[in-house]
Amino acid sequence: MSNALSTDAVLDDFRHYLEATDFAHLTAQQPEDLTTLFTDLAGLKNEVKSQSRQFKATLDSLEQAVSTLTEDNQALRQALEDVKTQATRHAETIERSVLAEILDFYDRLDEAYQALSHYRPVNRLFRHSKPQDVTFIERLKQGQEITRRRFLEWLQKNHITPIDCLGQPFDANTMRTLAVGHDAKQDHGTVLAVMRSGFRHHDQVLRLAEVKVNKL
């Protein structure tokens, strides 16, 4: 109501103003009909009203669009995070299996080196190994040792470190007992032999060490 009253008051003021003002210079050639003017004004007012309504509707739908977009964005971000986590996990699994296969080659290199280390030239009264054969095998062993060392260095550069077991107390987190032995000179639970080396990748166990443990 107050709104309507104030509109009337404004219109009254405006009417007085129009009556009191001399518009002669404006209407000199073509005097304007007040009714037409007011009709036009009312039309304009309606136009403004409908425009503002449209603006409001547009604003509302924009707001809605923004909230939908924000929700979508959040869902997408979450999905992206999930995919990222999955991808990282997948990559880690693949990395571990590749590294485990590489370790298999290291094992064989190591076995070959051990076999060469066990070589003893024949040294009996009437039979001797040929000196050149002995030298050849010695050099072969040296070569194998270098390759094995370089392999270990490469592993270490890639954060793969051997688990220290021999002479250490058995640790179920990093070792698996494959055999038990009896050595009264050693403490119970001491690792007597490493049957397959274990490795850590960073701080995680990549492969368990397989060991022979002293049991008293």
Partner: protein
């Protein structure tokens, strides 16, 4: 969220925990590992060890380590662990507690309810003991379901029509077969049979014995006493078993296996899949006998079975799938990881109890069998068109399988290889999807081995390669779209049949499904908009609009795109004025 129910497969050798997230069942991992060995132990400091760590110390401290406790469930007995006596359910509770902790760690909140699976043959006492184990572990066992029920749910939770399934469960150390009926998510076990001491470990043992006897023949060496060498042989045997799942031969090589009189002993031995299958044949026969006993128990025959589900890691052995196919005449399902299937089923049941809908586990599988033709018996007669499947239907993609073939006559220099899609034993009844020739084979007597490898990826790309084993001569061809192309062919066949029945109408419809141009889409949009304005405009405008709509519809029907431009523009102008 706090009353989430987890699903647990409490196995004899291994256990797993799973849950349903966003409608998908998945196994919860612990440091990347999905499987927890069902082993419990006590360490030097008196701490409880569960899983791998306990298994690691088993040989050193058998007196303080317990495994396979499931075999003792329900018995009035106690086991000694580190000088203390425990009931079987207490040991099982320790495993359950660990699984609960793994789930809680993953979910980030406490868990107090679970569905636990038990073998179908478990007695009331055994079930009660399992329930008690859950209670001791702080878990309310909301339901205990049979293992075959869980497996059937993974494959048929959404099944509305009644289906009879045969669940063939071959684990590391146990074998069970069950006949179940599934309808509307309710599974009923009709019969069950099994062998508590038969499993994949026996298969490994056969290969180990084979290798040991090879070493004995080759070097006169008894390797069984050499723990280190035996550990390597055991690993090699397991690897060979896995590789033989998709290739016809495997080379088992362990250089510097051991030493004999100061000399290194190397192992290098080829094992053919056919030889391996002979080694394990009697085990497979035993499982098939059990299958028939289970069928008899349910008073059914092979023809009454709608589906076969493979559960347990050892079912990856191809001859199991083949023998079942021979007996039942259709391909078994094994696409959901057979090691995790039961746990996933437990999680599915848990979700169903909570009222959460569960989607079928999504796995990309090949819908067809792919293979080649070879000389063989077809209905008792020799035929060159006997179909030899290589990649079986329902195989998880991507997949790669090889099969060995032999030349049939002396000095055979060429082989023609045809690739077929289908399941009919007569290759000519299947669809030929490619053919090629391998030339310049070695001039040798009949029996020259050719290995044919089929590799199918997720995009339906089928790579076929044939390789002469003796020389390494290889020829490869790639067949694009091996999965989709023939679906389309079938689709157009179907369309043809339908249009034959209905005449023109169906043909029109198939045309309408062709992709539309942007302009036609725009015209349809404008028409829809014009129609929606009908009620708001004057009679005069309405008439104009309907004229325009008519013109446009005619032009669209005649696919006259060029003529569309002008009337479309006019209609859009009209719409603009009417709308503003």
């Amino acid at each position: 969220m706090n009353d989430i129910i987890i699903g647990i497969d409490l196995g004899t050798t291994n256990s797993e925990v799973a849950w349903v997230e966003n409608g998908q069942a998945s196994v919860i991992t612990d440091q990347g590992k999905k499987i927890l060995p069902s082993v419990v132990g006590v360490d030097d400091q008196g701490n409880i060890l569960i899983g791998e760590t306990a298994r690691n110390q088993y040989l050193l401290y058998p007196e303080r380590t317990v495994k396979s406790i499931k075999r003792l469930m329900g018995q009035d007995t106690q086991v000694n662990m580190a000088g203390k006596m425990y009931q079987p359910q207490e040991i099982s509770a320790m495993i359950l507690k660990r699984l609960k902790a793994i789930a809680e760690q993953h979910l980030g909140h406490s868990v107090s309810k679970a569905v636990i699976t038990v073998p179908a043959y478990f007695s009331d006492a055994q079930r009660q003991a399992t329930r008690e184990a859950g209670e001791i572990a702080g878990l309310d066992v909301v339901r205990m379901i049979n293992e075959p029920t869980a497996a059937a749910l993974v494959y048929g939770a959404g099944q509305t029509e009644a289906k009879r399934m045969l669940v063939y469960d071959l684990g590391g150390g146990t074998f069970d077969v069950s006949v179940v009926n599934i309808q509307d998510g309710v599974v009923e076990v009709l019969s069950s049979h099994g062998d508590n001491h038969l499993g994949g470990d026996d298969f490994d043992q056969q290969i180990i014995n084979h290798i040991a006897s090879h070493v004995k023949t080759e070097y006169g060496l008894n390797i069984a006493g050499d723990t280190k060498a035996m550990a390597r042989i055991t690993r090699a045997a397991e690897r060979a078993k896995i590789e033989l799942s998709n290739q016809p031969f495997v080379r088992i090589e362990e250089e510097y296996l051991t030493e004999q009189d100061g000399n290194p002993v190397h192992l290098s031995l080829e094992l053919a899949r056919s030889d391996y299958e002979t080694l394990i044949e009697h085990f497979i026969d035993a499982t098939l006998d059990a299958v028939h006993i289970a069928l008899q128990g349910a008073q059914l025959t092979a023809t009454d079975i709608d589906d076969i589900i493979l559960v347990g890691g050892s079912t990856r052995t191809p001859c199991i799938r083949e023998r079942l196919f021979d007996q039942f005449g259709f391909e078994p399902h094994g696409e959901v990881d057979p090691d995790l299937c039961v746990a996933l089923g437990a999680a599915t049941q848990a979700a169903m109890i909570q009222g959460i809908s569960v989607d079928t586990v999504l796995v990309d599988v090949t819908p067809y069998t792919y293979g080649t033709s070879a000389l063989g018996y077809l209905d008792g007669e020799m035929s060159p068109y006997r179909f030899v499947p290589i990649i079986h239907k329902n195989s998880v993609l991507p997949t790669r399988h090889s099969e060995a073939f032999q030349t049939v006559y002396d000095g055979q220099e060429t082989v023609i290889i045809k690739i077929f899609q289908g399941e009919d034993p007569d290759a000519l009844n299947n669809i030929e999807i490619g053919a090629f020739t391998v030339e310049n084979l070695k001039d040798v007597p009949a029996g020259n081995t050719i290995t044919l490898t089929l590799e199918l990826d997720l995009n339906g790309l089928l790579k076929v390669s044939a390789r002469e084993k003796a020389t390494g001569l290889e020829k490869t061809v790639t067949i694009d779209n091996a999965i989709a192309r023939f679906e389309q062919e079938q689709l157009s066949d179907a369309r043809q049949r339908v249009s034959d029945l209905f005449g023109e109408a169906a043909a029109d419809e198939s045309e309408a499904t062709a992709p539309e141009s942007e302009r036609i889409k725009a015209a349809r949009l404008a028409i829809a908009k014009a129609e929606s304005l009908f009620d708001q405009v004057t009679l005069e405008d309405r008439e104009d609009l309907s004229d325009m709509i008519e013109t446009l519809t005619d032009l669209i029907a005649h696919d006259d795109e060029a003529a569309l431009v002008e009337p479309l523009e006019q209609l859009n102008d009209m719409l603009y004025y009417l709308d503003h």
